[in-house]
């Protein structure tokens, strides 16, 4: 279905770059769940060899931001953003890539995908990875097989990445509902879109790191050597001993 309709419900993730500690647990649990889930398997080639490669739906990059103060390391998880204007769906020649009307999730039908890879070229975010073994494209399903799964406790009906995050940096909900917890979080924290200039209108939002708590240039934090003239007799003796 290369034509798509955007419905009122926009399920997606809100990722807090302030609290993400870069532990990769979300990526590992994503792999764990999805290698047996809707788009299973998520193959690995040469997993114990020198040239390891495999399909992952979620990857954690790390950036440094020069904020003119101490600088800041930001861990940056990235998965499919389930865009409102998904060019990956538009370019699909077979209709295998589609956007669900009822909740906005972007999925691939593995039975009709011809493996032309054009959708992965059309995605500016690198959300799609090709499965060489199955010959079809794979991508984040927003854990469509968890979030509606009545066999799971209600608390567990969230994507695997969200359920596993130890820093509570990932939130799941309906971003089409302005009163949902995730929408309020986005409004409160100034959540934003990645690459808005590309015009894909991503549903997933990112929360910016809060301003640093350490004021100043960072020099205050430097250790100052113990000055021998103000130190006690023992330290002066140690200093003399070590200065030899």
């Amino acid at each position: 279905m290369t034509d798509y309709t955007v419905g009122p419900v926009k399920l997606g993730l809100v990722i807090d770059l302030d609290t993400c500690v870069g532990c990769h647990a979300c990526a590992v649990n994503c792999k764990e769940w999805n290698t047996a889930g809707h788009s299973a398997p998520l193959p690995d080639r040469d997993p114990y060899g020198a040239d390891i490669t495999g399909v992952w739906f979620n990857r954690i990059h790390t950036f440094e931001v020069d904020d003119g103060e101490c600088g800041r390391t930001v861990h940056f998880p990235k998965s499919c953003l389930h865009c409102e204007a998904p060019a990956c769906v538009e370019v699909c020649p077979t209709g295998a890539s589609y956007k669900r009307v009822e909740d906005g999730i972007v999925l691939v039908n593995a039975d009709t995908c011809i493996g032309c890879k054009l959708c992965s070229w059309a995605c500016p975010y690198g959300a799609r990875e090709f499965d060489d073994d199955a010959g079809v494209m794979k991508k984040c399903t927003l854990c469509v097989d968890r979030i509606y799964n009545r066999n799971l406790d209600e608390a567990d009906r969230v994507p695997a990445c969200v359920s596993t995050c130890p820093a509570h940096a990932r939130h799941f909900g309906d971003l089409g509902d302005p009163n949902s917890a995730v929408s309020r979080l986005v409004a409160e924290r100034g959540g934003y879109d990645l690459m808005p200039e590309q015009g894909y209108k991503p549903v997933n939002k990112y929360l910016p790191p809060r301003p640093g708590k350490i004021a100043g240039t960072g020099r205050e934090m430097a250790l100052t050597p113990a000055a021998p003239d103000t130190a006690g007799m023992f330290l002066r003796w140690v200093d003399r001993l070590l200065s030899r």
């Binding site: 995908c113 032309c116 990875e129």
Partner: protein
């Protein structure tokens, strides 16, 4: 972008095939090229052979070539689907034109109309191929306004070089066809130069700052990747060619693809006779090889925004 040989061969071969089919379909009914049936058979067999070899090659990079028929369904939004539909549709008037001309020696009435329709569909198919690339927003180089003119000009050039060579082989070489081939080579070079200048001087709108949204806090530098080995994204979209190599390959494309065909075509034009046959044939072969190099570069020089997440500072 990773240059997949099957796709490079496809656009080069089928581009030349559609160029030749368009010229033959237009010029034969107007009696501007030889009308005899052996010439008809050779010209159409070469054109349709190049087109078919290219189309078959294009399915080689698919994960599921046996499902290729599904690609005809989404022509409303997908340029790849449109290309598939038009490439197949072109066979219908081409077959009517070929049967009428080759088997019955007719070039009038409905056969002439079939020739013109085949020419129009050929041109449309080449433009659809170019639009597959030109419609991809994450690849700034391919957003260039010179992508569609480039594919059209090179299809016209290689088609004209083959038509010129075939008429010389049939001993029916005509000055104006040589002039057409030479002019097409000059046009092709001018369009490619414009494309190269545009990609050298135009930066994409996205940066590491916009890709992460962290630009409001300061300059963003890539610190650490998510994985230690290359993944699909880096192999497919992270392909990079060294600047010095790309300049050298552009020189090769200029010489092999445009200068050599132009000089050989002019040589055939000036000397005529027996020299014209090998000269015009060599011109066509050199033109094809040059276009192969140019197509390889078209991929290798194009940068994708996903590389911004892997340490690229521009895309």
């Amino acid at each position: 972008m990773h240059p997949a040989f099957s796709v490079i061969f496809f656009t080069t071969a089928s581009g030349a095939g559609y160029g030749l089919l368009a010229l033959v379909g237009m010029l034969a009914p107007l009696r501007l090229i030889p009308a005899d049936r052996s010439f008809a058979f050779t010209a159409l067999a070469l054109a349709l052979g190049l087109i078919t070899a290219g189309l078959l090659s294009s399915t080689a990079h698919l994960g599921h070539p046996e499902r290729a028929w599904r690609a005809f369904s989404q022509w409303r939004t997908s340029w790849l689907s449109r290309e598939g539909v038009l490439s197949l549709a072109t066979y219908v008037p081409a077959a009517i034109f070929g049967i009428g001309w080759v088997l019955f020696g007719r070039l009038d009435g409905p056969i002439a109309v079939a020739g013109f329709v085949a020419a129009a569909l050929s041109a449309a198919t080449v433009c659809c191929t170019a639009m597959i690339y030109a419609s991809l927003k994450p690849i700034q180089a391919w957003r260039s306004a010179w992508v569609v003119p480039g594919y059209a000009a090179l299809a016209l050039m290689t088609g004209a070089l083959w038509l010129n060579a075939l008429t010389h082989v049939w001993g029916a070489g005509q000055r104006w066809l040589g002039v057409l081939a030479a002019a097409a080579a000059i046009l092709g070079l001018l369009v490619k130069e414009a494309y190269w200048r545009s990609i050298d001087t135009t930066a994409g709108p996205s940066t590491p700052e916009s890709a992460t949204g962290l630009g409001r806090r300061g300059k963003v530098t890539f610190l650490d990747g998510p994985h230690t080995e290359a993944n699909y994204l880096l192999r497919e979209m992270g392909y990079a060619v060294a600047r010095k190599h790309s300049l050298k390959l552009r020189r090769i494309a200029r010489v092999l693809g445009f200068a050599v065909p132009l000089l050989l075509t002019l040589l055939a034009l000036a000397l005529g006779g027996t020299i014209a046959v090998p000269a015009s044939l060599l011109a066509a072969v050199a033109g094809m090889l040059g276009v192969l190099v140019e197509r390889w570069l078209f991929f290798a020089e194009a940068k994708h925004t996903v590389t911004l997440y892997y340490g690229a500072t521009t895309a």
